[in-house]
C-alpha cells in the first residue's frame, strides 16, 4: 500500500501555564514523586484563556512558517483532535476563523478517533494527496483536556496535558522517497466505553448534568491495559508480518504517550531498546491526539530523525483501538 507523502513542516503551541506534579501531589495529599513514578509525568501545560481553536491556529501558523508556504496554498485542513471547543460546529472551521483569513475558502473537516486522530488522518490523506486537487494538506491536533478532568481524580489530573501541534504534508519530489510504507488500525468495540466523557453529547446533554460523574473524563485504566495486553502483541506481529523489516530495525518508534505503565508495557511487548522509543511524557503529559505528533515534531526538531529514516507511529485510543503507521521520513 506504499503511499508517497512527505512531511514538509510542523509547529506547536504549548500554553505558558506549566503545572508541576509536585504541586498537584501537595494539593491531593499524595506522596511526593507519585505522579512521576506512576503517571510518568513531572509537568504538563494547561490552558489559561486559550481555546482549542486558538492553539490550533497558532500551531498551524508555526508549521506554515517552518514549511515556507502561505496559508492559501493549503488545499485541505483537517482538525484531528479528541477534544473540541463546541459540539457544533466542528473545530476545523473554528481554527480557520482564528487564522483570521476570511477571504480564503480552504475546505476543512474534523476526523475523530480520539488519541489516534493523527495516525488516522495521516493514513487517510496519504490516499488523497494527488498533486492535483490536493497538493498540500494540514493536520491540526489541538487538545484541551484540563477542562474535562474530575477535580478529585488524581489519576487523570496528574496524567493529562493541553497543547496543539500542526503538520503540513505534500508530495515528495521525484528523487525523494518519503512515504507511508504501511498503516493499519483495529477497533475492539468491547472497550468502547472504557474511556469516556459522559455528558456534553446527546445522551446526557450538558443541560442535565453538573456532576463530575458526567462531565469528567473517566478512564478504566485496568480494563484498558487488559485489552492492550490481550491485543497489542498480535496487532504488532500481524502488522510487521507483511513487511520486509522488523520493528527492532526501525530508526525510531513514536508511541502514544499514554502513561508510564503503558509505555513500559509497550517496550517490553516488542523487546525495544530505550533509545529506539521517543518519550516526552515526563514534560508534556498525555495530550490525547496531540501526543504522537508533538513527539514526532520534537524528534524532528531535535534531529533524532533524518530524511530516509523509517519511523513507526503507534498508539491506542478510546474505542478501544490500536493503530500504527510506518513512514519513511
Amino acid at each position: 500500500m506504499m503511499k508517497k507523502i512527505k512531511i514538509i513542516g510542523s509547529g506547536t503551541y504549548l500554553p505558558d501555564n506549566i503545572i508541576e506534579s509536585e504541586n498537584l501531589e501537595k494539593k491531593f495529599n499524595i506522596p511526593k514523586g507519585w505522579s512521576e513514578k506512576y503517571s510518568g509525568v513531572k509537568q504538563r501545560h494547561y490552558i489559561t484563556s486559550e481555546t482549542g481553536a486558538y492553539m490550533g491556529a497558532r500551531a498551524l501558523e508555526s508549521a506554515l512558517k517552518y514549511a515556507g508556504i502561505d496559508y492559501n496554498e493549503l488545499d485541505l485542513i483537517i482538525s484531528a483532535s479528541g477534544s473540541f471547543d463546541h459540539p457544533i460546529p466542528h473545530n476545523s472551521c473554528l481554527i480557520q476563523n482564528e487564522m483570521g483569513k476570511f477571504d480564503d475558502t480552504i475546505p476543512s473537516f474534523d476526523i475523530d478517533s480520539t488519541c489516534l486522530g493523527f495516525i488516522t488522518s495521516f493514513d487517510t490523506i496519504s490516499y488523497m494527496l494527488d498533486g492535483d486537487r490536493y497538493k498540500k494538506i494540514a493536520i491540526v491536533c489541538s487538545e484541551v483536556v484540563s477542562k474535562n478532568l474530575d477535580p478529585n481524580d488524581w489519576e487523570t489530573q496528574t496524567l493529562f496535558g493541553d497543547g496543539a501541534v500542526a503538520f503540513i504534508f505534500g508530495l515528495p519530489k521525484n528523487n525523494e522517497t518519503s512515504c507511508v510504507i504501511a498503516a493499519d488500525t483495529k477497533t475492539y468495540p468491547l472497550g468502547s466505553k472504557f474511556a469516556i466523557v459522559n455528558s456534553g453529547g446527546s445522551t446526557f446533554p450538558s443541560a442535565l448534568n453538573q456532576s463530575s460523574e458526567y462531565y469528567a473524563f473517566k478512564m478504566d485504566g485496568k480494563k484498558l491495559i487488559k485489552l492492550a495486553i490481550e491485543h497489542l502483541k498480535a496487532f504488532g506481529t500481524a502488522f510487521f508480518d507483511k513487511l520486509p523489516i522488523k520493528i527492532q530495525e526501525l530508526d525510531l518508534i513514536i508511541p502514544h504517550q499514554a502513561s508510564r505503565v503503558a509505555l513500559n508495557f509497550f517496550k517490553k511487548t516488542f523487546d525495544l531498546r530505550d533509545d529506539k522509543v521517543f518519550i516526552n511524557l515526563e514534560s508534556r503529559g498525555n495530550m490525547l491526539s496531540a501526543s504522537i505528533p508533538l513527539a514526532l515534531h520534537e524528534a524532528i526538531t531535535n534531529k533524532k530523525i533524518k530524511r530516509g529514516d523509517k519511523i513507526l507511529l503507534i498508539g491506542t485510543g478510546a474505542g478501544f483501538s490500536i493503530g500504527a503507521l510506518l513512514l519513511e521520513y
Copy 2:
C-alpha cells in the same frame, strides 16, 4: 478527478415517535400551519430511548442486508454525524459496540463537517477504495438533534428531526460506470459561529452551564442565508464550469434539507424545475448530516434514481461551508 465508487446498499432507522407540527404549534401558541409554511416541516421523528449509536447500528444492519454482505466484510466504518452520544469516545466505536460483534476488529473513525458529513465522507472514501485494503466501506449518519433544542425556540423546535442512515460502498465491476464525477467543498470561516451548540466541549464544559443559552443549538438563520446568497451561485458556477454537463441537465439533485426558505432559494439560484430536486423535508425535518443520505436512500428505494443516472448532492453546513458531490449512480 473521476473516482470509481459504487453504492451497493443503504438502510435507515427512524424512531417510531412522530412529532406533528400541529401539536408543536399548539404548544408554542403559534398559528396553525406556521411550521409547514416557514420551516417546511409537517412532521418529524424524535427519539424516545434510542441513542445515536443504537440508531446507527440498526441503519447499518439494514444497509448490510440490502447490500447482501456480512458485517465482517466491511474494511472501514465511518460515522459522519454532526451530533454524537458522548464527547469521548467518537461515535463509530459506539455504533460497533451496538452491533454486538465483538470478535470483529473493523477499523472505524468519525468524520465531522456537521450537515456536510455525508458529502465529506463519500468524497474522502472515493480516494481510499482501492480494492485491496479497502473493498467495502460503510458511512453512517445518525443524528439526535431533539435533545439539544431550546425548549422555547420554536424556529429550531419545528425544523429539526432525528434518525439514522447508513450506506455501503464498494468498487464497481469492470463493465459498470458508477463513480464520483466531481466533488468540492469551500469553507467560509467568517460564518463559523452562525450555527453553534455552545456547551459540551472544552470552552463551556457541561459542568458549568445548564441554561439553554449554552446547551441548545443556536442558529442565526438570517446571517446563514446571507452567506448562502453571497456564495452559493459562485460556488455552483465554479463547480460546473470544469464539467461537460450543466446542473439543469442532471437526472436528480439532492440538496441538504436545510429549511423551506433555503430550498426555495436553492432552486431559484440554479433555475431548477421542481421535479429535478428531491425534497423530503416535510416529513423528516432537517436531520443535519443524515438529511442528504436519507433523501438519497428514499430516491433510490422509490426508484427515482436508476443506475447510470447523474445525481448531485449539495448542501451547506455549519462552518460555514458549501459542499457538492456529483455522482454517477
